[in-house]
Amino acid sequence: MSMNDTTYIRRFFSLYSQEEKDKVRGLAFYPTDYLRALLPADVAFVDVVRSPHAGATFDKIDSSEALQIPGVLKVITAKDIPQNLSFAKRSKQGQLILADGKVRYRGEPCALVVAESREALSAAMKKIQVNWKPEAERGAEVIAKAAHQIGKPPSGQLAEVKLPFSFPSLHTRYLEAEGGWVQFDNGEMTFHAGSLFSESQRTWLSQILEIPLSKIKAQESPLGGYFGGRQQRELLAFLALSSHMTKRSTCLSFNSKEQDVGSYGYKGELSLSYDPASKRLKSLTGQVMIDAGSYEGNAQMVLQRMIEHAATIYDFEHVNLEGQVICTPTHPRRAHRGEGLSAITWVTEQLVEQAAKAVEMNPLEFRSLNCNQHAENAFQVLQEVEKLEKPFRLVPVDRNRPVWDEKSIQGRGIAFQYAIPGAHKEFDLSEVSVELTNSGSFKIRTSNVTLDLHMKQALAEVASMVLHTHPKAFTVEGKMREQIDKPARRETYPELYYLAQATWHASKDLAGKLKTAGTKIFGSDSVRLQDGAIVDANSNKKMGYRELAFTDHDHDLQSAFVLKDIERPHGCSAGAVTRVAFHPLTGELRVESVRVVLDAGPVFYKKGLEIQLDTAISWALAALFSSEFDSDQPIPTTLDGPDDVSLATLPYKLEGADERPPEFFGSRGVTDVLMSVVLASLVNAIYDAKNLPVQEIPMLLDFMYPKKRQQTVLNFPLKRF
């Protein structure tokens, strides 16, 4: 008799994790819950003195008056910080934690005030004197350049399409303002500031304060709209500094005004040439400019990546893309998910669409003909896209009908994206351990403390496949390490696929141990794992993992695996079809459907991909529809978009993976590809409907409502009686 999933779960486990159960009942605590209601009595309050000028110098911060106010503990300036490092790099270049004599943007932090009470704090904030010397406003400065060139300009009779474009900084606001507190206990600091507290942030803090890594710990807490970035680093650094210097627990929360999470701004012009006879794309040339705000951040890397990516999707004989990063005296911008790639490919895909229209070819066939020959499964993806919706309309809208007779103007757009496979890349190790606990359930501990609920479920699914039990039998937790080998490890966004691989190996090793234990118990060589139990094939005896954990004390039922310097060989491709409809008179735009085909390699957790697609759609809507660029802008969500959303993934089999390790899980660049493909297909659909290329994102009123009317009352015959 074998147990099916349900009986197995019913017998031993709750169907849901404690984390999920708490969240659905509203019992999970978030940083704001602590800040507003649960703070310990002895906590001190912190506030930030910010620059009122965009571009100024100062040489003195006078805190003497503030310090005389009872309850004020300390005023911290740049000079007090053991290592005043920058936010982006571990050096003194770029924006320092507290400005040292010079500020570039309005709102740049230059001092911290710590006080016993909120009242003392607000009184002290008014007494801080800074002798500002405002500078004359500087124009934009070029701070970095990049170029990408392939081949020589093609000769022969070529046609060309061109598109100037601009995509200004996109601002979003999250639900919870950044906030948190740190518990100080005997020189040890425990952070309660959202779960995106990564190892790299930990090492960064230990460098700033010049204290051992083991003194910095974090409490894993649910994310409430925390998405990392400079604001979060500011918060962590300010909390760490104030706590370390006053030897107190401290708390801090930003207001939404300070929480400016604008993305980089883009501008440029691209041109594409093709051979009308052979219908082959020939060259891609143009310039791109990134506005990084006051400080560069990782804009140079984004720039390089975007121009390289734009050139990889199709087979171009010649590519000549140049770019520069400029610095302006505004809030520092940051890279959002998919940044750079999505900011340029809506332009290239529009150009490809224009070329396809010009050569009168089905845009899908045109893409198939021209897509990168090395793109893995690109053809398969494009074939699947064709199945989603056909035929494609190539006939433009009839614009000669009388105005009141106009039907809604429909548009369909397709787009294709492809991310190149990762080259051999040195990556810091990912460590995973799997343990069978006495209760019969498994515990997975990972070296990554920034996993969200869905990522945890994904790892549980991999382990359950190897250990032949149900994913609900696993609890996943992130564990902080005592030592870090490579301080520059990038962990803000978790490298889930590496962890999946390490989980596979650790589980495989543990499965071996379980079998060994079984061999000893049953006295047989033919023990296998089945339905949450060890089974002896000869005698058909079986023992559940729970019983095994309870009875077996000789074996160490725990395995760990460390994955080092690995390759991620699979690229990712995606195609999307989007339908939109414009109201012919009022100009209202409705997105009717978004359908995506994705080749994401051997995927073990499809729900995660569906969520990524939802994110991509809401992001694309945000990019297209934000009407004002202030932080008050509500977040466009999938609620503003279509209900008809579908995701098809190319099938990959993971069966038999318990015998043979898969070379890899997932693909490179899933998020980037999804975000760019959805935006590009939307833009193409709008282009198709309006018969007018989209040059500016977000769509401006001038685009939605062109100044020149298409028709006037006198231009068409009136039916008179």
């Binding site: 009141w404 109201h583 009022t586 529809f625 934000s626």
Partner: protein, 303 residues
């Protein structure tokens, strides 16, 4: 600052006569608390007391009175959505109520509050206006004397534009009401229903679900023997001031595409630039208004 919560209307009147200028009246408070996060300290004008009339039974009731329909000023907007009379005889008001803000806000906000705040993008204001609703107001007592009841058209109720200063130096432009925060709106009275009367509401769908409409529009009119007797349009929005006009549809047959031609000519000749507040150019606003009118009349024709 005092918080008054009168149980009866007479208590409220008494407090108004006593409090005079220094008593602010409020009901649902959804506007006040949204625009002034640090209410009441943040208000530009200072008051001694706040009178909450949101729970006064006498003001929240909607009923038919000698053929006319009277909507209590503190009726919640969500209650209008469920109102049978409005669904049958004043479709524009019901549709406008259903498209106001979010469900949470509709459950709290009162009709009186929505009208008193006077947003240009308010669907309900345009619908009540087009339906020819009258506002009954009781003004505050002056110099010790008791307040007076007045009945006003919505066209009389508003006088120009005012800038409301809100948190963080933000400004909101709304219509300015002749009455102040110290006067009590009692009820809205819709004219008696006539046979053949029709009405509809249409609004431009905002680009983002929490955004406000660029143009909202309501039409009310009447048809006899399938011939339109009269039709009145009231349109406004984030992009335009109030437009209150008779549509040139007298004696036009209801099943005629001629309606659309008439409407188009009307919108084409109307000077939208003179009432434009922002958004697309005036000529385009004309096209939008025509589009909304066309949608509304098409639905009527289809019935």
């Amino acid at each position: 600052m005092e918080f008054l919560s009168p149980r009866y209307l007479s208590e409220a009147f008494e407090a108004m006569d006593k409090g005079g200028r220094n008593l602010k009246i409020c009901a649902g408070m959804t506007h006040l608390l949204r625009f002034y996060p640090r209410f009441p300290e943040e208000l530009t004008s200072k008051f001694d007391g706040l009178m909450h009339v949101g729970d006064l039974a006498a003001l929240s009731e909607s009923r038919e009175e000698s053929g006319k329909y009277s909507i209590g000023s503190t009726a919640r907007i969500s209650s209008l959505v469920e109102d049978d009379y409005l669904a049958r005889y004043a479709a524009a008001v019901r549709e406008a109520a259903a498209l106001t803000s979010t469900p949470q806000i509709r459950n709290r906000r009162t009709v009186g509050g929505e009208v008193a705040w006077g947003s240009y993008h308010s669907p309900l204001v345009s619908a009540l206006w087009a339906m020819g609703a009258k506002v009954k107001v009781r003004t505050r007592g002056k110099n010790g004397s008791a307040g007076q009841e007045e009945t006003l058209d919505l066209a009389q109720f508003y006088r120009g534009t005012q800038k409301r200063l809100a948190a963080e130096g933000k400004e909101h432009e709304t219509r300015s009401a002749v009455t102040g925060g110290q006067d009590l709106i009692l009820r809205f009275v819709l004219p008696a229903h006539q046979p053949g009367q029709f009405s509809f509401f249409r609004g431009l769908i905002p680009k983002i679900h929490t955004e406000n409409s660029g143009v909202v529009l309501s039409v009310s009119g009447s048809v006899q023997n399938n011939v339109i007797e009269r039709a009145r349009v009231v349109a406004s929005g984030v992009w335009m001031d109030t437009m209150d006009e008779e549509l040139p549809l007298q004696a036009v047959r209801m099943n005629d595409t001629y309606i659309f031609e008439k409407l188009y000519t009307f919108c084409d000749r109307y000077n939208f630039d003179s009432i434009r507040r922002g958004g697309p150019p005036g000529s385009q606003l004309g096209l939008i208004v025509f589009g909304l009118l066309k949608e509304g009349f098409s639905t009527l024709l289809a019935r």
